[in-house]
């Protein structure tokens, strides 16, 4: 009797504890699953946001392109100044010739200004005076916000680059918010036209911007011949993506990226240009020039030609036509690379 009793005593407790254990387990698992579900749902809502935002970005891009064919020419504005001219005057004139900043930038837009601040050397980055001048000019259009954002090349610290080059100080003084994009979360964006890659991770600030102003410095580049507008957009993607671009096919990836993450307005800082070698350590030439356009491809073509002229290349146009990423961007319909179809307005400020 006794042993069976003990057994009887034990067995109910045993079953209960097992049952409670199972109950707890089920509760735990379901709790976990619910938590996961929420997690899972949260990005999904963001995802839907992504697609809508992407769609609007693409829309503006196509709008930019249609400007070309309807007027049968794409306008690129070149404003030359006297030696050591004030960048503000050059930038203002360039924007005025493009139609005026109030007409270009929609009121209340959230603007991303993307300079090239990938390096610690002042020669290799967009002149902070140009960045500040662009910010001041854009403020006249009464935008919602202006963010100056950049992520340096892998191995360089963006915050340090922003500070040592003076970009942070001058851009903040001009009234922009300056962001180290590396601190941003990355979001995925589809590239429907992409030939080498079909989607790309970009920083959230970039995706959430309704108007992108690209302000690169005119430079030579070891891997892509030149780095101007199209190449400068590589600062909008995280390091992992920059690495992938190099692994896959750099020129095509740059073109693919620009097919969706495309600047609405480009203002090239060619006050000084880096010739012969780049993106660092090249020979600096004073051009006292600012080039602006709504078409990043056409702007790259015109700017690259100026760069080759400054180097004394015998056939600058031929050299431009051999720059892979510019030609590939034109093939994707991002802009016009055919020099004969680009109308250039060349102005010299007295």
């Amino acid at each position: 009797m006794e042993p069976s009793e003990t057994r009887k005593d034990k067995s109910p407790t045993a079953t209960v504890s097992r049952r409670t254990f199972l109950k707890l387990l089920v509760a735990g698992v379901s709790g976990f699953l619910v938590a996961r579900l929420f997690d899972f749902l949260a990005p999904k809502t963001i995802e839907t946001q992504t697609s809508t935002v992407t769609a609007t970005v693409t829309k503006t891009v196509t709008a930019t392109i249609t400007v070309g064919p309807t007027s049968k020419s794409v306008n690129v504005v070149m404003v030359r100044g006297a030696p050591n001219a004030v960048p503000q005057a050059l930038v203002e004139k360039a924007l005025e010739l493009l139609g005026g900043v109030e007409k270009l930038v929609p009121m209340g837009a959230s603007i991303l200004v993307k300079p090239n601040v990938g390096f610690y050397e002042k020669d290799a980055v967009t002149d902070p005076q140009v960045t500040a001048a662009v910010v001041r000019s854009l403020k006249q259009a009464k935008p919602g916000r202006i963010v100056v954002g950049e992520s340096s090349l892998r191995g360089n610290d963006t915050e340090h680059a922003l500070q040592v080059t003076g970009t942070r100080g001058q851009a903040e003084e001009a009234g922009a918010e300056v962001r180290d994009l590396r601190k941003d979360p990355a979001v995925s964006v589809d590239l429907p036209k992409g030939r080498a890659i079909t989607s790309v991770e970009v920083f959230k600030t970039v995706r959430d911007s309704s108007y992108i102003v690209n302000i690169p410095r005119l430079k030579r580049h070891s891997a892509t011949v030149t780095t101007i507008c199209l190449k400068n957009m590589m600062g909008t993607v995280p390091d992992s993506e920059k690495g992938r671009f190099h692994q896959v096919n750099l020129s095509q990836c740059i073109a693919d990226l620009n097919s969706v993450i495309c600047p609405n307005l480009v203002i090239i800082d060619a006050t000084k240009a880096m010739t012969r070698r780049g993106p660092t350590g090249g020979t600096m030439v004073d051009l006292n020039l600012v080039i602006a356009s709504l078409d990043p491809v056409a702007a790259d073509v015109v700017a690259a030609e100026e760069l080759f002229k400054a180097e004394g290349v015998s056939d600058p146009r031929g050299a431009v036509s051999r720059i892979e990423h510019i030609q590939k961007a034109a093939e994707l319909g991002i802009g016009v690379a055919d020099r004969s179809k680009i109308e250039v307005l060349d102005v010299t400020l007295s």
């Binding site: 191995g155 360089n156 891997a223 750099l250 020129s251």
Partner: protein
């Protein structure tokens, strides 16, 4: 009893396996890339008190502490892991002063003029290099802070000059190839003898 025996055997087995891998290295010690201005190897191992302050203050996270697999004598001393970050003594946030040397309480790492600094050199495995395999890359050349350390053949393929390279590891960190085409070695390093 059986359980105890099993655990004993298991313990011995684990110990043998782990030691067989580590033992030779514990005796010899691995060749490590050290922080800028680190004392000569024996002096460093003797003077360093393993306080880890250099690793904590390194702005790029390049300084890590040597593990047992790096050698018994070296255990807990600072080394540069270029995969975690580059050394910015030559260019960047430590340009004026090496933060690791500044914080070192025992003088195991000293301030050395960055013009005579050499922590080692980067070497390239061309089979893994994107540029050497016909792709377009040259990120190493873009990020190199020392002019002449990397030169180009046909403006497309990088050649590394170990005599000019200072071993900051920036190219190694930035190399987008997978696996990396570049490794940082202490080859040619200049180290200090304690005063």
């Amino acid at each position: 009893m059986k359980r105890r025996e099993f655990l004993k055997l298991f313990g011995v087995g684990v110990a043998v396996i782990s030691l067989s891998d580590v033992f030779p290295r514990i005796i010899r010690g691995k060749e490590l890339v050290r922080p800028p201005g680190a004392l000569a190897e024996d002096a460093l191992n003797a003077v360093c008190i393993r306080c880890a302050r250099c690793a904590q203050i390194c702005p790029t996270g390049a300084i890590v502490l040597a593990s047992l697999s790096d050698g018994f004598k070296e255990l807990g001393t600072p080394r540069i892991d270029a995969l975690r970050g580059p050394c910015e003594r030559v260019q960047g946030r430590c340009e004026r002063q090496a933060k690791c040397a500044e914080i070192c309480p025992t003088g195991a790492i000293l301030q050395v003029d960055r013009r005579i600094l050499k922590m080692g050199s980067a070497i390239i495995n061309a089979d893994r290099c994107i540029a050497w395999r016909g792709g377009s890359c040259l990120v190493c050349y873009e990020v190199c802070p020392v002019q002449g350390a990397i030169s180009l053949i046909d403006e497309a393929r990088p050649i590394f000059h170990a005599d000019i390279c200072v071993g900051c590891g920036r190219c190694v960190y930035a190399c987008p190839a997978q696996p990396k085409a570049l490794t940082l070695t202490p080859e040619g390093e200049r180290r200090l003898l304690p005063v």
